[in-house]
Symmetry: C2
Subunit: 360 residues, 2 copies
DNA sequence: ATAGATTAATTGTATATACAATTATACAAT
DNA sequence: ATTGTATAATTGTATATACAATTAATCTAT
C-alpha cells in the first residue's frame, strides 16, 4: 500500500515521496507518462484534490510537467539536477608571488570538470577576506579554496567555520591554520627548508643567513628545516643572522633586512631567502650596493617564480599542481566522496642556477 | 470589485495579480500581515480553496510567507529581487603579461560594488574561449569582460554575439574586434607607438627595428604609430628591420626574431619591442650573446610590466585602470544606464629607465 | 486530400465542507 | 517564578463534487 492513513505525515506528502522514489529509481523514466490523476486516485484511494496537491508540488520542484489532455510527464532529471559548479578561490593578490600560477592550476582543473572559478583578492587582510566570504556565501558557491590571510588563527578558523556551517567544503592551500581539522594541500616545507640549507652546507657554506616571516606556517616550517639542517651538520644556530619578521610581506621592511644582512657579508657566505620575492630584493639591493651574486655572497630562494633575468637557485614548488590538487580535493568533497580530513603534501625540489658559489 | 467573475482569466489568478499589485504598490508592506484566508474569502466572495491557491502561488514565488495561527505575511521584497552579480573575465592566461594586473583592477572595482568575478583562461584559443562562453552562459553571468582571443574577426564576433543574444553585455578590453559595434576599453596604442618611437628618434636613433604581432589591434596600432613617427621625422621605413609576426605570442619564435635583429646590431641602434615580454626576450638573448643593453643596442618595450631586475624604458599602460574602467562600463550596461556603444581610450606614458642610450 | 466539426481524455478551475495541527495568549497550578 | 493546561485563531490536510478548457484523435463533408 502506498499510503498509510494512520501516519502523521500528510497523505499528499506520502504520495509525493512515493512519486519521487519511482522517478529516481527509474520506474517512471524521463518523458514517461505517469498515471492520470483519476488513476492515481484509484490506486491510492485518495481524492483527486489530494493527488493534485502532491503532483503540483512535484511540478514546482521540477520533477513533473503537466500537459492538458495528455497527462503528466517526467522531466529529464539529468538537466534538473543542475549542480552548482562555482568554486571560490581566495588569494592575497592575484598579481603577486605564485598566485597567478596557482590560480591557473585551479582554473584548468575546474575547466576540465566544467566548474567555474570566482577569484577574490584578500590582500592578506582579515576584513577583506570576510567581505569576500559574504559574497561567496551569497553566490552559494559549491566550495572554497582558501589561502588563509595574515590573520590570527582564531580569525582564520572563523572564516573556515562560516563556510562549513553552510555545508560548503573548504580546502586550504599552501598555508595551514592550526587548531582546525580541515583538508589542505601544501608542500613539504620543513623538508624543503632542510634540503636547501643542506645544499648550501654541502657547497661549503657554514655561515648562512635567513630572512622570512613567521606569520605563515610555510615559512615557519622552512625555518625549522633550516635549523635542523644546521644542527645535523654540527653548525651552531646564530640568532644574529636569522631575521624572522612576524607580519605579512612588506617590501620596504624586507629591503631593510636585506641591507642588514648584506652589510654583514663578510661574516656570511650565503643567504636563504624565505621566498623568491625576498631573493629578488636581495638582487635589487646587491646591484645598488655593488655586491656580486654569487661572487660576494650566495643566495637561494624558495618558490621558483619564473624570473627570466636572474639565475636564482631556488626550491621549486609545484604551485600549478597545488592548484590542481586543491581543485580535485574540493570537487571530491563537493561530491561527498570522502569523509575525514585529507592532507596532500607535494614535494618540492631544488633548481640549480647560478646564485650559489661553491666553496669546496 | 477585485474579482471579475466573467473574465476568462481564472479568479485565483486575478486574486494573485491583485495581491502582487498591493504588495508592489506598498499597500501591504514588508512584514505586514495580509487578510486571513477567511477574510479574503469574504472580501472577494471566493471559496477558501481558491484563496489558498492564489496565496500558495505567491508563497512559491517568494512574495508571501505563511505562519500557522498567525496569518500570512509579506516577505522583504528587496531581498527577493536578488540581482545576479557575477561578471566573467576572459583573458589569455592569468599568469602572463598584464593579465594579473588587469584582473586585479577588475576585481577591485567589482568588489566595490559587491560583484564577483569568474576568471577564465582562454590561452588565446578560440575553442577554449567557446568552452568558457558556454559555462558563463550556464552560470548566467550579468556581464562579460573579454580580451578577444587570437581568432578570426568572424569567430570573435560570434563569441560576442552569443552573449548579446542572451542580453548579457560585453566589454572588450585592450584588443578590439573590427566590424562589430561594442563597448571597449583600450589605450591609445597608435599615439603610444608614435611617442615612444619619437622618443628614440629624439635620442638620436634613426635605425630602429621593431618586433611585434599584427594579429592584435593593439600591436597593429603601435606599428602604425611607429611608421608615422619615422615618416614625420623624415626617416625611411625599412621593411628589413620590421618583424611583424601574424600569430599569437610564442616564445621560441620571438627568440628567433630577436636573434635576427641582434645580429644586425651594427645596422641598428635601437629596437622597439612590441610589448615587454618581447623586450625580456631581447634581454635574455643579449646576455647570452654578450650584447650590452643599452651599450650596444637600445631597447624600449610597451606595457610596463613590473620587472624589478631589468631597467627597461617602456610605455606604461594603465592596465589596472583599464580593468577598473571595463568593470565600471560593464556595470553601467548591466544597470541599463547607457545606450549605444561607448569607447574608453586611456592614455599611456613613457617611463624612462636605463635601456636607451642617447646618441646626441 | 483537405478543411472543419465532433469526441473524449485529461488537466484546470472552483466550491462547500470538515477536521487536524500549530501556537500565541491567557489562565491555573505548583 | 516556573510549569502545565485550556482556548482560540489561523493555517494545514483531506474529501466530494462540478464544470471549464485544451487538444489529440477521429469522423464528416466537401
Amino acid at each position: 500500500m502506498i499510503i498509510d492513513r494512520n501516519s502523521p505525515v500528510p497523505q499528499y506528502f506520502q504520495l509525493q515521496t512515493w512519486l519521487i522514489e519511482q522517478i529516481e529509481q527509474g520506474v517512471f523514466k524521463t518523458n514517461d507518462k505517469i498515471p492520470t490523476e483519476e488513476e492515481l486516485a484509484e490506486i491510492t484511494g485518495l481524492a483527486r484534490a489530494t493527488i493534485r496537491q502532491a503532483v503540483q508540488n512535484l511540478v514546482n520542484m521540477g520533477y513533473l510537467e503537466r500537459k492538458r489532455r495528455l497527462g503528466t510527464f517526467v522531466i529529464n532529471n539529468e538537466a534538473k539536477s543542475e549542480t552548482r559548479t562555482i568554486v571560490g578561490l581566495l588569494v592575497p593578490d592575484i598579481r603577486s608571488g605564485y598566485a597567478p600560477e596557482l590560480a591557473r592550476g585551479v582554473e584548468d582543473e575546474a575547466a576540465k570538470n566544467k566548474h567555474s572559478l570566482i577569484l577574490c583578492d584578500t590582500d592578506d587582510l582579515y576584513v577583506k577576506t570576510e567581505f569576500h566570504v559574504n559574497r561567496l556565501l551569497e553566490n552559494s558557491v559549491a566550495g572554497v579554496i582558501l589561502m588563509p590571510p595574515a590573520a590570527t588563527d582564531e580569525q582564520n578558523q572563523k572564516i573556515v567555520t562560516r563556510f562549513l556551517n553552510n555545508n560548503i567544503p573548504v580546502v586550504l592551500v599552501d598555508r595551514i591554520i592550526p587548531g582546525i581539522e580541515i583538508d589542505y594541500v601544501t608542500t613539504n616545507n620543513f623538508e624543503g627548508g632542510y634540503e636547501i640549507t643542506e645544499y648550501l652546507i654541502k657547497k661549503g657554506h657554514r655561515k648562512i643567513g635567513i630572512v622570512l616571516s613567521t606569520l605563515f606556517s610555510t615559512e615557519r616550517d622552512r625555518l625549522e628545516g633550516y635549523k635542523k639542517a644546521l644542527t645535523d651538520h654540527g653548525i651552531p644556530i646564530d640568532p644574529d643572522i636569522i631575521i624572522a619578521d612576524s607580519g605579512p610581506f612588506i617590501q620596504n621592511r624586507y629591503f631593510k633586512y636585506a641591507r642588514t644582512l648584506l652589510k654583514k657579508r663578510n661574516d656570511l657566505s650565503a643567504i636563504f631567502a624565505g621566498h623568491d620575492r625576498i631573493a629578488l630584493i636581495f638582487y635589487s639591493l646587491a646591484k645598488e650596493m655593488g655586491v656580486s651574486i654569487p661572487g660576494d655572497i650566495s643566495i637561494v630562494g624558495y618558490d621558483d617564480l619564473h624570473f627570466t633575468t636572474i639565475p636564482l637557485t631556488t626550491m621549486h614548488q609545484p604551485i600549478y599542481e597545488m592548484g590542481q590538487e586543491s581543485m580535485k580535493l574540493i570537487m571530491s568533497r563537493i561530491n561527498g566522496e570522502d569523509k575525514g580530513p585529507r592532507d596532500i603534501v607535494l614535494k618540492s625540489h631544488i633548481v640549480e642556477r647560478e646564485s650559489v658559489d661553491s666553496l669546496v
